[in-house]
């Protein structure tokens, strides 16, 4: 297991964050790790699933960081799929 520092933004937030994740984390976990720094802090929660977008693709929730090909400082956007 290796730590992968990502550049991450939660849609609707105002700033890009440094969020360390593990290469075995699924996108569901990645979304939670990014949301931890944003939801309830600057944005209210929504009753909707969260998704992770990388380049022009929305990644499957069960796909891992390694499987998605994310490398250190890759940029991902997390959003509520409402």
């Amino acid at each position: 297991m290796a730590i992968v520092p990502l550049q991450a933004a939660f849609r609707g937030d105002f700033v890009v964050l440094l969020v360390p994740v593990n290469d075995e984390d699924t996108m569901e976990i990645v979304a939670q790790k990014v949301a931890y720094h944003v939801i309830h802090r600057r944005l209210p929660p929504q009753d909707a699933p969260m998704r992770v977008r990388y380049t022009d693709r929305v990644l499957p929730t069960d796909q891992t960081v390694a499987q998605a090909g994310l490398s250190p400082m890759s940029f991902v956007e997390v959003f509520y799929d409402a």
């Binding site: 520092p5 550049q7 933004a9 939660f10 849609r11 609707g12 937030d13 105002f14 700033v15 890009v16 964050l17 440094l18 969020v19 360390p20 931890y36 720094h37 309830h40 802090r41 600057r42 944005l43 209210p44 490398s71 250190p72 400082m73 940029f75 956007e77």
Partner: protein, 497 residues
Amino acid sequence: MPKLERSQWYDLCRDMNWRFKYVTEGEVFPEALSQSHGIPAAAWWTWDEPYKISYREYVHNQAEKDASVYSVRSAIARSRTFENLDPGWKAAIIAHYGAIAMPEYLATIGEARMGRFGRAAAWRNMALYGTLDEARHGQIQFSFSHDLLKKEPRFDWAHKAFHTNEWGVIAIRHFFDDIFTSNDAVSTAIQLTFTVETGFTNLQFLGMAADAMETGDVVFGALISSIQTDEARHAQQGEPTLRLLIQHGKKAEAQRLIDVAFWGSWRIFALLSGLAMDYYTPLAHRSMSFKEFMLEWIVKQFIDQWRDLGLERPWYWDLFMQELDWLHHALHLGIWFWRPTVWWNPDAGMSAAEREWLEAKYPGWHDRFGTYWQTIAENVRQGKIGLTYPETLPVVCNICQIPECSPTIGAPPRLVTHNGRVFTFCSDPCKWIFEQDPARYAGHLSIVDRFVAGHIQPPNLPGALAYMGLSPVEQGTDAMNYAWAFEQPQSAATPVS
């Protein structure tokens, strides 16, 4: 014996230019330090400053300026003026001293380089005064901030800041290293004296002086007004240098140098002047909004000067105009949220009246920024202060070194892979600046790069704060002790303005 008029002797005394016989032009003026742009030596000798002054006059004027400012300082010294200042204004001047005092001192390096490697004696003469000016600006600001140490220990950051790796200091140092401490003479004249000093320092030194007088900080107002009179003189090294470049077919290069420095200046002054004017200055004493200052001093007056010289607006002009409406508001929110990472106490500036003012000056402010502050205020009221603090770092741009604030307003970060390393940029102009000269910038590690590379231990926020030189008592906290959050009941459904 009758005295000669200055105009009768000035040029003769000033123009110590000569052709070299025993050494080459390149040995006396190495291109790396001087940068002739291929313009012949004799052409440089036509360089002529618009404001003429002899050394005797210079010393006389400077002595009078110092006497005036120091007399204000003496008169105020025993009063309780500082204690009675608004906490937000105190934040503005503590931030100012840390960000500006040492760079003034460092500017002696850029001025002295022009004083030695400028291609015309007239220019070297003027740069000598500029060197002395900047030494004065460093010393006078160290001295005045030292007066306030016993009242607020963080005035120590006037001297300390530039000896740390605090993120804002890295940003300012990166920009100033680029345009004057590590720059050739011609580029310094264009990027420092023309772009920064003719344009942007007016914001911090004239705009802030007006706010200081309104706020009752007479000493600070007198101090920075006095500094600005020097800036206005030595800033005039830029224009004759630009004229020469344009006359000799180097307009494109002059424009490129200005475009680089203008963007960097915009970033730094949005961070410094933008927050001070629109959030830290007490509402009743705000003379103009930051945007109004920008429109008057930069968009109108400064750009008129460009046109007079035959220069164009920067290629990123539309983006710049859009950012006037949001960039410094985003930076303010970020600095408040990451307040332990700065050496002053940020004033949220979120009272109902202040929010109304922001919405009036920046229509749409509430829709863009109100929700964030509403969530923060609710957390404060519910005692969830932990949720108003960060637990990770923001990503910072590899050129301006400022947090990348763009997801909802602009585009995602621009990523560039250079020699196997991924660089991240907040905007197209920052990416463009990097691509102009990657070798100049690629060796620098941002605070985030250092974190990722393991230079910061332990690898967490406390470790980063220690790395930045911020002990717990130096870390910023809310200037008003969160009173603004309790000013009136707010619910999630109630707009903050």
